[in-house]
Amino acid sequence: MTKKRLIQKIVFTTFGLISLMVVGILFAILGFIAIRGLHVVNWEFLTSMPEDGMTKGGIFPAIVGTGSLVLGSMVFAFPIGVLSGIYTHEYLKDSWFKRFIRMMTNNLSGIPSIVFGLFGMALFVNYLSFGDSILAGSLTLGLLTLPVVIRTTEEALKSVDDTLRMGSYALGATKLQTIRRVVLPVAYPNIITGLILSIGRVSGETAPILFTVAAYFLPKLPSSLSDQVMALPYHLYVLATSGTNMEQSRPMAYGTAFVLIAIVLIINTAASLLRRYLNKKVKMD
């Protein structure tokens, strides 16, 4: 073996081992939480209220809370994000305006989630007097996800072959018709999977809901958009750092962490299965 071959072999083996280490880190985290959390999670844990200073019972209100926040933020972010993505990709020509909008979207996605928390508190909770509420929390989370949805949509549209568009125009179709009948039917599997993935992100966010909606302990279900709710990630934070009896609430914390990870796993798997299924369907049609 020549010297340079040997160097290559050593370097690539090292890189392979490092990659293996990254895999190891993931499995360490997943494994650790699964081993300690799995036996805590049962039907009762998922469907009952927390009891005894959050050392017993379940996490039902936090699940409902996170569910309503996800739903609320998606109702807001999905339509606006998809429409915005369509506009910037299909309508705007390469101009300063397009670059400006791109830049602002990139800026928005780079803003830390805690700053969204501050902003949500200042605008929705105080200025618009929504108070600590599902509405304020959902809107804050929605704005946070917006750049992700827009980028997903743009990427999906970008992957549609331009010749399809040309073909449609050549037959006399208008822009809107082309988008609706040609572009979107090809692009929608990727849009949908992107949207599903962003649900995973929203359900795990803590910082934006700290001061806009999350309740420390609230063992009842919300009845309107102006109610406060518990939420899974904040609940885990509370259990891990400021519960009334940390040793005894540890199992609850493991259980909650497991549920959070399970949500991400399920969503990622569902998204990739759905993508495969829908893409196949698009090709068959």
Partner: protein
């Protein structure tokens, strides 16, 4: 004298039988054009001579490829030594995003030659051989991306010449260039023939006719006919060659 040879070559990509039972040999200091419709296997064949096909994961070869009577696929062959000894020029000019000088010196540097004098001499010699020296000698530090497409392609030829190749492979070297640049490349090939042996894949039949001594016609993975260019173009012995050359398909 025979410079390079292919004996009983069969190539598969997975289940796809890309080259079928091919036998060809190439004389020293000759230019051989490989022609044929797209997907006929001529590029695959060309890339056998510097083992670029090895990069494709499901590639499989049977048969013998030799240059200077050395079996290129024997176990003793070190693949980067081999590639260094076979020059290759690609379809589109692909200079590295480095200076003109560093582009030409690249092949030496990656093979451990860093002596300034040797590098300077080689760069100048190669650029002269590629008929580019006079145009760039004052701007050797300039980015290779800043010169014209035709100059870039001659730079890529110079880059290949710098490692003193035993054989030069050209994969449609002029297809991305304007007519004037193409003419310059063709002129250059004619000059290079004096010191090198060249295999060139081309889509352009007139070009094959102008620059090559021999022509091989590929069709659907088979080598249909291989002969002196003049004979091939004026009096092909195979009907499919005749049809292709006269433009009835392709």
């Amino acid at each position: 004298m025979i410079k390079a040879e292919a004996k009983n070559i069969n190539v598969w990509y997975g289940d796809f039988h890309a080259l079928k039972n091919i036998n060809m040999s190439f004389n020293t200091n000759s230019v051989t054009a490989l022609i044929g419709p797209s997907g006929c296997g001529k590029s695959t064949f060309l890339r056998l001579f510097n083992r670029m096909n090895d990069l494709i994961s499901n590639f499989r070869l049977e048969g013998l490829i030799t240059v200077d009577e050395q079996n290129l696929y024997s176990k003793e062959v070190k693949i980067d030594e081999l590639r260094k000894s076979i020059g290759m020029v690609f379809q589109k000019p692909n200079p590295f995003p480095k200076s003109i000088y560093e582009n030409v010196a690249y092949g030496l540097r990656v093979n451990g030659i860093n002596d300034r004098r040797t590098l300077d001499e080689t760069v100048e010699r190669s650029l002269r051989q590629a008929a580019l020296w006079d145009e760039v000698k004052d701007n050797l530090k300039k980015s290779a991306m800043s010169i014209s497409g035709g100059q870039q392609q001659r730079l890529c030829i110079a880059r290949a010449l710098a490692v003193e190749p035993r054989l030069i492979l050209m994969d449609e070297p002029a297809s991305a260039l304007d007519p004037i640049s193409t003419a310059k490349i063709e002129e250059l090939i004619f000059e290079l023939k004096k010191s090198f042996t060249i295999l060139i894949v081309t889509h352009n039949l007139q070009q094959a006719g102008r620059i090559s001594d021999y022509t091989g016609f590929f069709y659907m993975g088979e080598m249909i006919e291989h002969d002196a260019t003049q004979k091939m173009f004026l009096n092909p012995s195979n009907e499919r060659t005749q049809n292709y050359i006269t433009g009835r398909f392709g």
